[in-house]
Symmetry: D2
Subunit: 383 residues, 4 copies
Amino acid sequence: MNGNRFGRLFQVTTFGESHGEAMGCTVSGCPAGLELSEEDIQEDLDRRKPGQSMITTSRGEPDDVTINSGIQDGYTTGTPIGMVIQNKDARSGKYEPFITAPRPSHGDFTYSAKFGTRNWGGGGRSSARETVNWVAAGAIAKKLLALQGIECKAHVNQIGDVEAPEVSFEEMLEHSEENDVRCAHPETAAEMQELIEEYQEEGDSIGGSIEFEARGVPVGLGAPRFDSLSARLGQAMMAIPAATAFEFGLGTEAAEWIGKDRNDDWEFDDDGNPVPVENDHGGIQGGISSGEPIYGEVTLHAPTSIPKSQQTADWETGELKEEQVIGRHDPVLPPRGVPVVEAMLALTLVDFMLLSGRLNPDRVDDQPGEYDTDYHPSNPRNE
Amino acid sequence: MNGNRFGRLFQVTTFGESHGEAMGCTVSGCPAGLELSEEDIQEDLDRRKPGQSMITTSRGEPDDVTINSGIQDGYTTGTPIGMVIQNKDARSGKYEPFITAPRPSHGDFTYSAKFGTRNWGGGGRSSARETVNWVAAGAIAKKLLALQGIECKAHVNQIGDVEAPEVSFEEMLEHSEENDVRCAHPETAAEMQELIEEYQEEGDSIGGSIEFEARGVPVGLGAPRFDSLSARLGQAMMAIPAATAFEFGLGTEAAEWIGKDRNDDWEFDDDGNPVPVENDHGGIQGGISSGEPIYGEVTLHAPTSIPKSQQTADWETGELKEEQVIGRHDPVLPPRGVPVVEAMLALTLVDFMLLSGRLNPDRVDDQPGEYDTDYHPSNPRNE
Amino acid sequence: MNGNRFGRLFQVTTFGESHGEAMGCTVSGCPAGLELSEEDIQEDLDRRKPGQSMITTSRGEPDDVTINSGIQDGYTTGTPIGMVIQNKDARSGKYEPFITAPRPSHGDFTYSAKFGTRNWGGGGRSSARETVNWVAAGAIAKKLLALQGIECKAHVNQIGDVEAPEVSFEEMLEHSEENDVRCAHPETAAEMQELIEEYQEEGDSIGGSIEFEARGVPVGLGAPRFDSLSARLGQAMMAIPAATAFEFGLGTEAAEWIGKDRNDDWEFDDDGNPVPVENDHGGIQGGISSGEPIYGEVTLHAPTSIPKSQQTADWETGELKEEQVIGRHDPVLPPRGVPVVEAMLALTLVDFMLLSGRLNPDRVDDQPGEYDTDYHPSNPRNE
Amino acid sequence: MNGNRFGRLFQVTTFGESHGEAMGCTVSGCPAGLELSEEDIQEDLDRRKPGQSMITTSRGEPDDVTINSGIQDGYTTGTPIGMVIQNKDARSGKYEPFITAPRPSHGDFTYSAKFGTRNWGGGGRSSARETVNWVAAGAIAKKLLALQGIECKAHVNQIGDVEAPEVSFEEMLEHSEENDVRCAHPETAAEMQELIEEYQEEGDSIGGSIEFEARGVPVGLGAPRFDSLSARLGQAMMAIPAATAFEFGLGTEAAEWIGKDRNDDWEFDDDGNPVPVENDHGGIQGGISSGEPIYGEVTLHAPTSIPKSQQTADWETGELKEEQVIGRHDPVLPPRGVPVVEAMLALTLVDFMLLSGRLNPDRVDDQPGEYDTDYHPSNPRNE
């Protein structure tokens, strides 16, 4: 209700402000017996970490995670996993002009108006620094999903007007970490990099988007109507800072498609089970996973913190003023957003794996096995 | 968890299948003292009802709502409002070819695989008929919001490749109900109508999209991070049958905007409070409502039920077959989707009004009044 | 939040007032494939029904249930089960003296103060008539549990100062329905009956208590710490109208027991698994079911509606007045409370069966099987 | 669902095992502007702390709390409050005999069977050490409630067969902290102390109970039917380790009371509002607070860890063995349980204050004021 927790059976609760003592999250609902170390989590944290390249903020956070509970001798115990990540390089000085004036299009005004208090250092709780918690929790979700043969991957498919051509899942896996932009199409990545640097030099920023895909998702995840897989993915992705659009399958393009073209005919797979001929439906039918890859896209607007001068209204002096948001900021969000999108995808899926009874919520060493998803005549009418 | 309820304090629980006895929903969390009759609800139900025009299905459902509880002498009592809507014109015969074979891109396969049973009549629970419940609940939400000066409106802004120019909120209010398409721009509505009829004649269907806007929303709604206003709107809208994309503010276009252009500078309003100069942020900043209009868009793919012949796989015979989905179906979804989008918008907002303490959850005759959203030095550091 | 729903995965949502149109409840989360008819539910409703004997109210409600959804050809479909029970014999006239004055120790004052409105007919939503919904939902829970070998039973073990001696589970099953009091010890039942009739003649009422037991509950149900099995049973039972105490195992007596006596030593069962020698722990250890029978007790205070004259304060006239609560009322609650306690027990257990992954949430024809609850060295430290 | 969180709007999420790195909890939903320091919390932690007297365990934990977020310059910011308490004096050695054999009546067997892993050090997550988190969160709840004039207090009213006479709220406030037993009746406290020491010397332990009371609770808290104030108090109190009974008002005694005696007549207070003449109803009517003091009792069984020899079953060797639970343990639970009961009472009440709209969820500097709870004719029928 208060917005600091995600997930229904695989529950993530987070805390922390950009310039507070520490960030942290508690994962409750991870079954016992999963091999897990701080290193497993660190890997994804490093992909999200500031200062990893010239096109990210230079804030120097090692983002080392400490696990305080829930692990014994390298395996989870089924009890909550408490994690803490210290904030080590907060420099609040640059934010002083904005103590009494909101930064344009940030959460400054809305947070201050809601809570009647101004946590100006680095944006306080409204900062995207919060996503360090999501990535930490997501790393655990990914490990659990991997045991079930489910893989979640994302890459940057658009920066400004530079769009990547369609890439395969394998290309995503292979190429997206090869360049600073995290675009799986190397040539496009280079173009994107150039564009970003251009805006960076101008003291401006630019928007973009991230494409995601999940493989190996079994048939049957999703709880329509209000908690359909698409609805919950929508919530998860739209919670990402700066997200302005969520699409799955054909997305906004679907407006222009006729039924005959969008509909996916049925054929049989080698085992004699019905499978769709194509996957224009994006892996979700009637709100439930179809067994086909789930894919979609998230749009992230340009970072609001820019060195360029902008007008703000000082509520103390009652005067308008022109200010620059100096600090250390990202000129573009998608490159560091890739592990965040993957985390939210994994967190959503692992939750549905538990909700659908596909995962034993207590322990990984005794799974229900693959549920029979053949069509069964469980009532006489069907016989 | 099971997907049949929406809302955290304003709670809607629904039941019903397309060809079952009745649809129904229970609204729990509506404060006492709201004047409410079946007529209030009927009005919106009639806008969603089948058979209302030549471009909707001809299924003849009066969709009369019966209220079983929660009302006394024309006013709500603060206790749950139980509503039932009988199904009166179900004709299952046409669905027989699909008893043992899934209709392309419907929920047939996924529901059958998940539940091991086949509710073939009209798609059972997967049918968009479910949204009759949402509209009923939404009508109550709208009445509550109206008391607080909040208005929710939607119209159809795209069908196939026909897009409406931007319209004002006032135009939406005035024109969207004047034509069968529910497009607030009369000339475009005519074009859309023509296009729809074309596809209808071909035995095909077409996609489209709906634009929505909420006026009068106070500053401070939304519970970042995971329950930001955008995240919860994302869930609400993506739960709508056939939704493939959700956007707010600039939506997918934001990918191409630079920070300086997208950022909204601050100025003062007549009362000396900071207000954004423009509203490129779509009424939500940092996940919380800014006091500006909230606007966005939902894309709905083409109806999957089409008279054109399609291939399906019969799991009983093990053979592929070509079948037509005959029945009585909509050639396009947005016109009947408009009240559905409005309902989900209203349900999301009223829930946040309660969660944010802007509405007394017990009774409408004693409201907290408008909360002070000036910036208050509630701690010494701010003084 | 609004109190009208129970359960996390097996979700019950209810509506209805004592003198409203109808009572009703929606059960969401029942797996597909369970054979279920209105008769299955009716059986328990008849045990709770008014007018069933001389020691219950004479209100003439047949309490016939109608199922509106979620069933196809006699089997559940995995989708929500909507049920309605009409109110047919409401007579509000007798309540008129209390329109502007609260009945002593009823919910009249608190409901009116909270909601600012007075639903005086039969107590409105505060009436114990609501439990008709619980019993309906509980009947479904019981059927599901029976498939897993779990049985829930209760009987009346105290009325006033008449206490029954300890009875076995088998005696409960055999004798509790043989007499109007629902006490499994026939001699005590006769004494209780006499006592009740005595108070009934005096125009007064009397308290009592109900003992419950669940057999066949597997090891591992319960989610400590806040959702331990005892905590959730506590909530479930204390929600019952007139409940003033909940006990499990030794209950309040445990205050006087020393550790050595209360502690249950361990031995081995025939399969070589550790089992407790006794069951002073009441089937729950550390908040989790131990595999032993779960037993406990609920105290219900005397009905507040009594023909004897009582003082109330009329807020309209500002005067005190002596009034009798005439109507048709129960002189004692436990006899009709037995199916209610069983229902709450079953609803709590079935929810934990789902939460613990012991039940496939989607379908009954493909269960995970009994989970291995031997002690497994799932990490090297344990080897 | 996983049991590690409590509260619906005032949300507490906890982690930690007895011998793990640290305990911790996150409080989400505390409004901004509450003056709060680590010292405020420490005070209650010190009352719960081990080693505080001769009748508690001698484990030497300072239980110093560190706040990682949610506070700025001594005031809450409305964002989650992350707290950590290090474990500093864990000594696992004494637990070695029980690595492969469950301690009698502990959570050892059930946790191991559920999770397939054995966290033997100090009982792992099943340890009562967890309540350090509850007390930390409860301290914040108490401060918030105090702003609204609500006070929560408890004391020990029974140890073994030694029962305290009834004491007033004022006596509780004045005397309960004066002795090690935390009994507000000094003479009884001395007797209890003697009894405890007797059992301690015998190497045994003894049960007892705690009485609680809340003053200043406004009319209208509670969300019947399933979330009535009594139901949620039942859950909260029964979650306390070793709780076997929860009572409010007359508790189990109500079984023997007749209606006429238990019913509380109505009179008028000085402002002309109806008030009950007595408070046999325990401050809750129809599941909703009546404005009278809320009082009740929790029974805690004797500590299961006792030096006396007990039989256990070693699942590795397959042999029965006699073992002593040596460690450092409490001979009785209620003295340290007093702040725990107060915490659970405060957490439950503050949650309902938010749920009932009596507290602005965003900020303490702008409260809705006291809601009008007079009886209002909000509909014509009432006029």
